[in-house]
């Protein structure tokens, strides 16, 4: 079990879980969000390759209304 930080909140995931897997866990569509892992953007085609590690800091963002 890994302890990571997702959007500023503590989150636990299984060992070996990928970023794509995390998105699935969270019910998010990978085509509508952008992911930053420890301040580095994870390109969309690498989401399934990158595995999470303990202490990772994840930011998942999307577009919202703004001016």
């Amino acid at each position: 079990m890994l302890h990571i930080d997702v959007n500023g909140k503590r989150h636990d995931v299984d060992d070996g879980r990928t970023v794509a897997g995390l998105l699935t866990d969270l019910g998010l569509d990978g085509r509508l969000v952008v992911v930053e892992l420890n301040r580095q953007i994870v390109r969309r085609n690498e989401l399934a390759q990158v595995t999470l590690e303990d202490g990772d800091r994840i930011e998942i963002v999307h577009f919202v209304g703004g001016g």
């Binding site: 969270l26 953007i41 963002v61 999307h62 577009f63 919202v64 209304g65 001016g67």
Partner: protein
């Protein structure tokens, strides 16, 4: 026959707005914040005739089970989405948001905001120049939100900004165009398009702003905080077109005294 000639002459009335190689028929750009609902947002955008709309980059709310995506309502195939860096207070932060926005895969455009003060949301033009240079070097099409200072605007153009977007008055203030002279100055000296961004409060503000000769207007609160946003969106579409047409038509000279509209000759004895 007359009909087709007239149609043709109409299409020649004005050139379209071109920014960063992309052509827009509408000179109105809309922000999408603060509407009552996604539906109202889309209705207002449609009524405004805007082709380009801004969006913000924010964390997904993981607690909201079924948060509906804005993109379900604003189809990127119908509207050109322009990610902003609203809420960023340093060049680094703005660059980070710009990169995230680009990663969404829609375009490499960014409405660049580097805010210098929370109370007034005025831009930090030093940091704005730094961020513009960096992002232009990274291949972004950068549309910086700036103040109405000509010198900064010239530096932004030199830095490679695709357009320069001076404010009319503070964001969300609805004060209208406070310094028309400065905006005319910018327009007269820049080669890239000048799009007035922020401060327009009602239709006449938009109209008078376009009459200064600027290339377009970006607005948000004037619609979202109107009593009837969709009707105000329509008002803004008309006002932007009216101001543009009046600018192109060339206004009559102002005079201190009167001149009759009816003939002075031909009066009866």
């Amino acid at each position: 026959m007359t009909q087709s000639i007239e149609v043709e002459s109409r299409t020649h009335l004005d050139d379209p707005l071109v920014i960063g190689g992309r052509t827009f028929r509408s000179r109105l750009i809309l922000g999408t914040g603060k509407y009552g609902s996604h539906l109202e947002t889309v209705q207002a955008v449609r009524a405004s005739g805007a082709e380009m709309v801004t969006v913000a980059v924010r964390r997904v709310d993981l607690d909201a089970t079924h948060e509906e995506s804005l993109l379900h309502h604003l189809d990127p195939r119908e509207f050109f989405l322009l990610p902003n860096t609203a809420g960023c207070y340093s060049a680094e932060e703005a660059i980070r948001y710009a990169r995230l926005g680009r990663e969404a895969g829609l375009s490499d455009w960014v409405k660049l905001e580097v805010i210098g003060d929370e109370e007034t949301l005025l831009p930090d033009v030093e940091a704005l120049l730094v961020a513009t240079r960096t992002l232009v070097a990274e291949g972004f099409t950068v549309l910086p939100y700036t103040n109405d200072d000509l010198i900064t605007a010239l530096k932004l153009e030199d830095a490679g900004a695709a357009a320069v977007m001076p404010l009319a008055s503070p964001i969300g203030s609805g004060q209208g165009l406070l310094n028309a002279l400065n905006v005319r100055l910018l327009k007269s000296r820049l080669s890239v398009p000048v799009v007035v961004d922020a401060g327009v409060g009602t239709a006449s503000d938009a109209c008078v702003t376009m009459e200064q000769g600027v290339d377009g207007i970006l607005m948000n609160t004037a619609l979202a905080a109107s009593d009837r946003p969709v009707l105000m969106a329509r008002a803004m579409r008309l006002a932007v077109e009216a101001g543009r047409a009046a600018y192109l038509a060339g206004r009559m000279p102002k005079r201190e005294w009167a001149i009759p509209s009816s003939p002075t000759a031909g009066m009866l004895d």
